[in-house]
Each structure stands twice: as C-alpha cells, then as structure tokens.
C-alpha cells in the first residue's frame, strides 16, 4: 500500500476485541499511523492507531480479525495511510483497501496522498453553480444537480437506485460543453452482481476507461469499509484538483460504512448515541462528504453522489438523517411509487437540491425554471393531500378544485416523474412537460409563477402568440 519503510515491529499484542487490538511495550508510535498486522501464516492486513500512550497503542484493524490470535506481528510504519497517485489510476479496479483486482501491478508513484485528505479552506471554495443535465425530469426539473455538489440518493433495498445512479453517470452533461465526467466508484459491502452491473454500464458507454473502481463487496471484510470511501475521495481529489478533471464520485452503500464505524465504536466501548452509532458519526461523515466541491483557481470539480439505504425506509434513521444534515440536498426513492410502476420512484416532495438556485435560470436553463419547480411542488403536495382525502371520503367527496389537484398528481407521476432508464430528456423537454401538466390547473392557482412567465410559457398563451 505504501513504500516499505523500516518501522517498529512488535509481537506484544495483549488483547483482541472485535476489530481492535491492544499492543503493549511500544515506543515512539504516533497517533493515526498505519499499522501492518501479520498472522503467523504470513497473511497481512492493515490498520491504524486510534489511541496511543508512551507504552501501549490501540489499533483498529481494517481487515478480518476472526481467527486471529495474540501471536500476530505488529509493524508500525511511522506514516499515516497513504496511497500513490498517478494518471495511471484511471481505468483501474482496486479492492476496498487498494489492492489491485484487475490483475495489473500495484500503481507506483512517489506522489503519496494521505487518505484522510485535507480540509478545503471555506474561503478558498468556489460556489458550485454549473447546471448538470441528467436527462431525468424529476432531477433536472425540480432538484437540479450542479458541478461540485454533494447530492445523495436515499433508498431502500430492492429499489432501483443503482439503475438511477448509472443513468445519471451515463447521461450527465453540462449543456453546451463537451467535457464528460470521470467516475470514481466506491463500493462498500454491495453484492457482486451490483458491482458487475455498474461495471457493465460503464463499459457500455465507454465510461470505464475514465473511471476508477474501489470495490469492497458483501463478502469482503466489513471493517475495510472504513477506508474505502476515503480512498475513493482521495483519488477523486487528485483527478479534480491536480489533473483538472470533472469527477463524479458514486459511493454505495454509505450505511454499510457507518456500520463499520459503529462496530469499532462498540469495540472501544464508547458511549453510543442513537441506535448504537457513535456521537461523532456526523463529523465523521462530514470529513468524507465535505471533500466534494470546487476550489477557486482550480478547473476541476468533485461532484459526489452517495447512495445509502434507509433501514426499514426510515428517513429519521441516523445515517440518512445525519447525511441530510451534511449534504446539499437529497433524492428520495420510495417503495410506494415503485410499486405503482414508476421509474425512477423518486418522490420530489421530500427531495431537495439546495444548490439548484445557483445553477438554473435565464443564463443556464430557462428564466421560468425556478418558478415552475416551485409551482410543481405546491401542486403535487395539494394532489397528494387530495389523494389522502379520497381514501376517506371517496372521489365524490372531493370539491371540483381538489379533483383537479388529484388529476394533476396522477398525471405528474406518470408523465413527469416516470421515464425510461435510457430516456434522456433535455431540460427544455422537461419544462415543456411541466407546463403541459400545469395547464390542467386553473390559471389563478398558478401563483408561484410570475405572470410574465405564464404569459410567455403557458400553453394557452403560447398558442395565442
């Protein structure tokens, strides 16, 4: 993983507790340094120092500790976990702890980067504002993504989040620009077939030659997941801020990452907060997510799309909850929509893109974009309310107005949200569909749209002029 260095070697492990090892009688070990743990069989895993005093160190192991006994050899490397950077990383496939999986040699470079990365100085950040067209109406129309944004997909098992992420990766473009995205794909505990799906998708579109894959799969050591997203982000930062590329990072599934963090916390006997997760889960996730962005004076960008499953569909579960508090919005997939045959099963109401306002408008998409999105939200919320009412009083119990909202909601889901996994709509098309749907409503109800835009874009007026 790093250039071999003469380090300090000990065989004085006194305790193994889950992924944690206590090593005694050590000297000169530094906090957070990389450790190599070798079993008598010669098998080696890595770890890092979590807590250190003058004569003992607590080490977290990134690999499997099952079957391990106190007879392991511990080597302190004197360095934090670093990985070599070079343009040759592009097109490669690695394990969750950066071992080559593609039969090619380990990458060589003297340019070693700490996987923890640095903190972008907030004053040096450039506010992300370039609209990315994903070709998906529910995103482009109402939750637009911009370059350098961190926008997660909250999903549940069995929902097509992979299909959606792949579609975004395939279709994402900046209108009027030729540049593609390079993709860094970090997998934490996903199934082989899921990883294979992404690989095929990237292969089909030629994206594979511009991607780096870091794969920790379901049967790989769970604790390794603790470093996987950090490796992915380190590579992304290098591609973006050193090589000037626009990088899309997909990290899936962040819930598995959080579980690895929890396992270590429990082994350390830390005071848990909600559902056993440590109190620092928020800050820890932030150190991963906040590495996305743009930097003033640098041409590249890191756009981050983490995917995470909400256990039992619960959005208040600590992982989605704390993610939402860090990321710049969220795209929410719901089983209910999926069951009704709607792909992508994305519910726009709880979804949000906070950076949308900077990316859309007359100069980039269209002047009415923001108002139209706002109106769609309101109308769909009214429709959803009417739908709730129907369950109690039946359609006959609805007022004329409520019936119109209801019709809007149904058509909105089927014509606006629903689209094919290979259907790539331009933002103009998306806005046209939106206007068609809004024209079901009485014009007086379109108060979130400026009058000037109604006169210009409403189908009834457009045909007049």
């Amino acid at each position: 993983m790093t250039v071999e260095q003469a380090g300090l070697v000990y065989k004085t492990t006194s305790e193994i507790r889950g992924p944690i090892l206590m090593v005694e009688g050590i000297r000169g070990v530094s906090y957070d340094e990389l450790v190599r743990i070798r079993r008598p069989s010669g098998e080696e895993v890595t770890g890092s120092v979590l807590d250190v005093s003058r004569d003992w160190a607590m080490v977290q192991c990134f690999g499997d500790t099952s079957g391990m006994d106190l007879n392991v050899t511990i080597k302190f490397t004197g360095e934090t976990l670093k990985i070599p950077m070079s343009p040759e990383l592009i097109g490669r496939v690695f394990s969750g702890s950066f071992e080559p999986l593609d039969g090619m040699p380990r990458p060589l470079s003297t340019d070693l980067r700490d996987v923890n990365g640095g903190t972008i100085n907030p004053a040096a950040r450039d506010v992300p504002s370039e609209f990315i067209q994903t070709g998906i109406s529910a995103i482009d129309g109402m939750n637009s993504l911009v370059r350098g944004q961190k926008l997660p997909i909250f999903s549940e098992s069995g929902l097509p989040h992979n299909m959606l992420a792949a579609q975004i990766a395939r279709q994402a473009t900046i209108p009027g620009s030729e540049e593609d995205f390079a993709i860094v794909f970090g997998a934490m505990g996903i199934k082989h077939e899921e990883a294979a799906y992404f690989r095929e998708e990237f292969e089909k579109t030629g994206a594979l030659s511009k991607s780096v894959m870091i794969l920790n799969l379901a049967d790989d050591p769970p604790i390794e997941r603790i470093v996987t997203p950090k490796i992915a982000q380190t590579i992304a930062e290098y591609l973006a801020f050193d090589l000037g590329m626009h990088v899309l990072v997909i990290l899936t599934d962040m819930t598995n990452y959080a579980e690895a963090l929890r396992a270590i916390s429990i082994a350390r006997e830390e005071i848990p907060t909600r559902k056993g997760y440590p109190g620092y889960l928020y800050s820890d996730l932030a150190t991963i997510y906040e590495r996305a962005g743009r930097i003033t004076g640098k041409s590249g960008s890191v756009t981050l799309m983490p995917i995470l499953s909400m256990p039992a569909g619960d959005i208040t579960h600590p992982v989605p909850d704390l993610t939402g508090y860090i990321t710049e919005g969220q795209l929410i997939l719901q089983r209910e929509l999926s069951l009704r045959g709607i792909y992508p099963p994305m519910n726009p109401l709880p979804s949000l893109s906070r950076l949308m306002k900077d990316g859309i408008g007359a100069e980039t998409t269209r002047e009415d974009h923001s108002d139209v999105a706002n109106q769609l939200y309101m109308a769909y919320a009214e429709g959803a309310r009417a739908r709730g009412l129907v369950r109690i009083v039946g359609v006959v119990g609805l007022s004329e107005r409520e019936r119109t909202w209801l019709e809007f909601a149904d058509r909105f889901e089927n014509e606006f949200v629903k689209q094919g996994p290979y259907e790539n709509r331009s933002v103009e098309q998306t806005l046209e569909i939106a206007w068609d749907l809004l024209s079901i409503l009485p014009e007086e109800d379109l108060i979130r749209v400026r009058e000037a835009y109604i006169n210009k874009y409403h189908p009834a007026h457009k045909s007049e002029s």
Partner: protein
C-alpha cells in the same frame, strides 16, 4: 518563563500531558513539534487534559507541550469587520494565501493584521479623566462602519497624551496615567472568549429586531437584545432564514457563526454579501458582517470555541454602542462538540450522551444576549441579539438540545417538515412558534399603525380556526362543510400563500418593509370583511373564489411598495359590489 511538559497520550483531539509545573485550566497550549493549538480542559493530579484545535495525526507521546500562560482570547480592534475567520480567529483568507486551498496545521497567524495602518481620530485630549469603556477615538473600519476605540474594561485614569494619525493596531496612540503608573494606549485589546464582557446595567428590551421577513416581524418577532432559536430537521430552512436575517435585519453589526455546517454555505456568504446592499443605508452588507467559519469537517474542538469567539466579538461591538445580531448555525453541532470532548474525558453522560452540564452551557451562551448600558461615562446603550439554529436528530424536538434551548430563549421559530416539503418557506409553523416579546413588538408596531394589534390577532385567529376546521375536513371532506367554514379555509390559504410564504430568492419578495407588511395583512382582513357578509347571505364560496381580486391579492407581495395594495383594495370594493348586486345582497 513558560511552563513546559510532554505528551503522554493521544486519543483523537484529546491530548494527555504532564507539565513540570502546575498549569492553569483554560490555558492555551502549543502541542507537539508542530505547535498545534490546544486548551487545557481538565487537570487531574499530574495530568493535564488538552483539547486540541487541530488534527492530531502524527503526534507522538514524548513530544513537547508549552503553556502560553494565557487563555484563548479574542483580539479586539480594527480589522475584524468583513473578515472570515475560523473558531480561534485565524483569518481564513490569509491562511489560504499562506498555505493554499487546503487548511494546513500549526500555521500560527495572529488574528488582527499587524501591518495594516488605520487612520485614528482621537476623541479625548490630554488631561481628560477616563474610565474603562470610554471612547478615546474612532477609526473608519469599513467605508460605512465607525469603529470606536475604547479604554479596556479594567483600566481608568487620566489621559497623559494622545494623538490622531495613522497607526497599526499595536502602535501606541497615547498614554494613560493610572494609579499603578503609566500605561500605553493602543487600538488593540484582548479579551478571554469564555468570559462575558462587563457592562454597567442590563436594560429592559424596547425594540423589535426588524428582519423584513413577514412571518417573523409580524407574527413572531425577536427583540433587540433578545434570544431566539430556530429548530428544524434538515432542509427545513434554518440556514436560509438566518441568512435572510443577516442580510436584512436592522442591526448595526452581524456576526455569522458557521458552526459545524457546510463549507459551501460559508463560501456562498463570502461570494454574495459583498454584492448586496443594506436597504436602509445603501451600504454593502459585508461592511457590517463578520464571518466565523468552523465548518463540519474542521476539528470539533475549535467548533466548540467558535461560538464563544463570536459572542465575544459581538459584545465588543455592543460596548461601542451598537446593536449587534449574532447568528449561530448550528448550536447542535456546538453541543455535539461538547459531547465529543466530554466523552473523551470519560465523563458520565446524561441524556443522549450529552454531559450533565449541557443545559448550563446553553444558558451561559444565551445569557450573553441583552440590551445594556455599556461601561464608560454617560449612558451608552448597545445590544446583543442571539439567534441559534438547532438541528434535532430526526427532526424530533423532544431531544436535549432543543428542550434545554427552549428554556433560555424568548422567540421560538418552529420549522415544519411538512411545510418545507410543499415549499412553503419560511417553513415556520404558526401554531407551534411563539414569542415572549409581544409587548415590545406591539408598542413599536402600534406607532406605525394603531390598528396593528387588532389585524394581527384577527389573522392569527383565522389561521388557528382554519386548522381546526381542517381536522373536520380531513374526515368529511371540504365539500361537505358549510360555506362560512370554507371561507375560513380559503382565508387561511390566502394568508399562507399571500403573506406567510416569502421567497428568499425573489428580487422583491426577499425583503418586505414594515409599512408593506401591515398594509398587506390589512388588505387580506379587508377582503374577509367584504366577502364574509356575502357568504352569510348565500353567495356560494365558488363565486368568491372566482373574484379576480383574489389572484391580485396573492401577487401583491411580489410588487414593490404599498401602492399596488391600495389599488387592489379599490378593485376589491368594486368586485364585492358586483357580487352583491348579482346575488341581490342588501345587508352588508
């Protein structure tokens, strides 16, 4: 002689060290070969527990620690305004210039620029007797902001000499003869951040902090010198609302503390504030704003310090006689920092892992808000208003930070996820929010319009009534309700869309002056008074909805000034008459 020692143990941000002599709790420490910044948070026997403000990777037991002998202080003087600093007052812009776009460690830069020359104008002369807090001179700190240089709180005596002219913050501008001898006078002073700056007297609050946000100013105002909290789940609008207040409120100074939140949000403020103008003074907003950015991926311990830093800077400007608004986004992240440090110290946790002293710490911070008579001769009055976002886990307000905060604040803006989902922003729930400053606000508003209290109360009643009727409507459907009740529902809808909803990103709607707020609310109540008799006399609700004036009313908020409101009222009269005629309604 500084006290030195060595590192014994490193557990994340917590360092255990042994010193050769006894250090003091709260002392600032240089940690390790890199000279990272830290602070002693506990002393136990031989061991000092140091919370380190920077990332501790690579530190080794045995490395040196040095006690600076003083606590974490804020440097106070010209050069604060318009800056972006981290939680321990290091200029982020300067760090960027020095070390590049990624934050580096152990770069110790002094908070106030030592080279910059300011034009100091003396306001006292030799022979004048002065006490702590007296203004001895002024500096134009930004184009429109006058910085008032004061005698430090603990000094007094006779001015021996003083001169106007160009000085750096460290240069001597004069001399003060005190009981203990002659001391030099400089523009810069320091103050320990964890200690409130002294004042002469606390005063009752008399004025609302006007924000240009309708639901706040009209329904749930905060007073100048008061405290407010805005809790809500993610994406419900805490940051946007607080930034709206930072932009449009009538405070003289804004301290914006980005405490454990997003880097891009800070960058957004840095990018946009210099372009924005204060609607009252016409000056650039950045000229009255200080930004403290300790974002989520910066060390947690410095996040804990950032709020105290912000409040201290605020108190300093208050002492000059200004109205200061301090905004902390988010106090929950500060509380989590407290929890993190407490956990590493192995303290016994109380609720949700927070230390038992959480409530006291929250109280201590909000206690530093207030309207006061400052130190110094005469009665100079200044205020600190404190507003904090709260980010409850799962959006559940029953958690410790929200519940403890509730005890110490006067205004509570409860954000509502359902409203946010339908993009009703600001998503301040009008049934769950409250203010304890109503008397202050009533007095102020009634001077502007004597009918204010009445129309506000009527509007609130309509909203409350509507929510009760909605309960019934949810069971039997709106259609089955009598038209009088349906009218109340329609009124509530109009008030929501036409008054409460305020788009922060709309060029006109982003700020609504007080005059327009009253006029707007009044015209909605007028509408009700015009059509309610019609409904009572049998005009169907559908006909009322069809009145063209309804859309007019809903669009008034997007139109500048109050003139369109008067026009709409005329239109309302005409259309009401038409309906009355149509249905032969006579009694109105």
């Amino acid at each position: 002689m500084s006290i030195v020692g060595t590192i014994e143990r490193i557990n994340g941000s917590l360092i255990l060290a042994k010193f050769d002599e006894k250090p003091k709790i709260g002392d600032l420490i240089e940690v390790g070969n890199l000279k990272l910044m830290g602070e002693i948070v506990r002393l136990s026997g031989e061991t000092a527990y140091v919370q380190c403000y920077e990332v501790t990777s690579g530190l080794r037991p045995g490395e040196p620690v040095v006690d600076t002998g003083h606590p974490l202080v804020a440097e106070l003087g010209p050069g604060i305004m318009g800056a972006i600093v981290d939680g321990v007052q290091r200029s982020q812009t300067e760090l960027w210039n020095l070390t590049g776009p990624f934050v580096s460690r152990g770069t110790n830069i002094v908070p106030l620029n030592r080279e910059k020359v300011w034009s100091f104008e003396a306001k006292v002369k030799a022979g004048d007797k002065v006490v702590g807090g007296d203004i001895i001179g002024t500096v134009q700190e930004t184009l429109s902001f006058e910085h008032r240089v004061m005698i430090p709180p603990d000094q007094s005596g006779t001015i021996k000499s003083i001169k106007s002219g160009d000085f750096t913050v460290e240069e001597v501008v004069g001399e003060l003869e005190t009981a203990d001898g002659i001391v030099p006078l400089r523009m810069m002073q320091t103050w320990p951040v964890r200690m409130g700056r002294p004042t002469k007297e606390r005063l009752p609050l008399v004025q609302p902090l006007m924000t240009g946000q309708r639901v706040i100013d009209t329904f749930f105002p905060c007073a100048k010198g008061g405290a407010a909290a805005i809790p809500g789940g993610f994406g419900t609008g805490k940051t946007v609302t607080l930034q709206q207040i930072a932009k449009w409120s009538d405070a003289d100074v804004i301290i914006l503390i980005g405490c454990g939140e997003r880097g891009n949000e800070m960058a957004d403020v840095v990018a946009h504030f210099p372009e924005l103008e204060d609607p009252r003074s016409g000056r650039r907003l950045i000229q009255r704003t200080v930004i403290i950015a300790n974002v989520s991926n910066m060390p947690v311990s410095a996040r804990e310090a950032s709020i105290y830093m912000g409040v201290t800077l605020g108190e300093y400007y208050r002492d000059m006689g200004y109205d200061v608004a301090i905004i902390a986004d988010s106090t929950s992240r500060w509380a989590e920092a407290l929890r993190d440090i407490s956990g590493r110290l192995e303290e016994i946790p109380a609720e949700a892992g927070f230390p038992a002293y959480l409530s006291d710490r929250i109280a201590q911070i909000y206690e530093r808000a207030g309207r006061v008579v400052t130190l110094g001769e005469g009665r100079r009055i200044g205020s600190v208003t404190l507003m904090g976002a709260v980010s409850p886990p799962g959006g559940d307000f029953s958690e410790p930070v929200t519940t403890h905060t509730l005890r110490y604040i006067g205004t509570f803006w409860a954000l509502d996820t359902e409203l946010a989902y339908r993009r009703h922003f600001p998503a301040i729930n009008w049934l769950r929010s409250f203010t304890r400053y109503m008397d202050v606000a009533s007095r102020w508003w009634s001077q502007l319009d004597s009918g204010w209290e009445d129309i506000r109360a009527r509007a609130l009643r309509l909203l409350e009534e509507a929510s009760e009727i909605e309960e019934t409507a949810r069971i039997i459907g709106e259609k089955a309700l009598p038209d009088e009740q349906r009218l109340v529902l329609q009124m509530a809808e109009m008030l929501r869309e036409g008054f409460l909803v305020q788009n922060a990103f709309h060029e006109v709607d982003t700020y609504c002056e007080a005059e327009k707020q009253v006029a707007l609310l009044k015209v909605f109540i007028d509408f009700y008074d015009e059509v309610e008799p019609l409904i009572r006399q049998g005009v169907p609700i559908e006909r009322i909805r069809e009145m063209g004036v309804v859309t007019e009313l809903l669009r008034l908020k997007e139109k500048p000034g109050t003139e369109p409101i008067d026009e709409a009222r005329d239109l309302l009269k005409v259309q009401a008459d038409e309906v009355a005629e149509e249905y032969e309604v006579t009694e109105r």
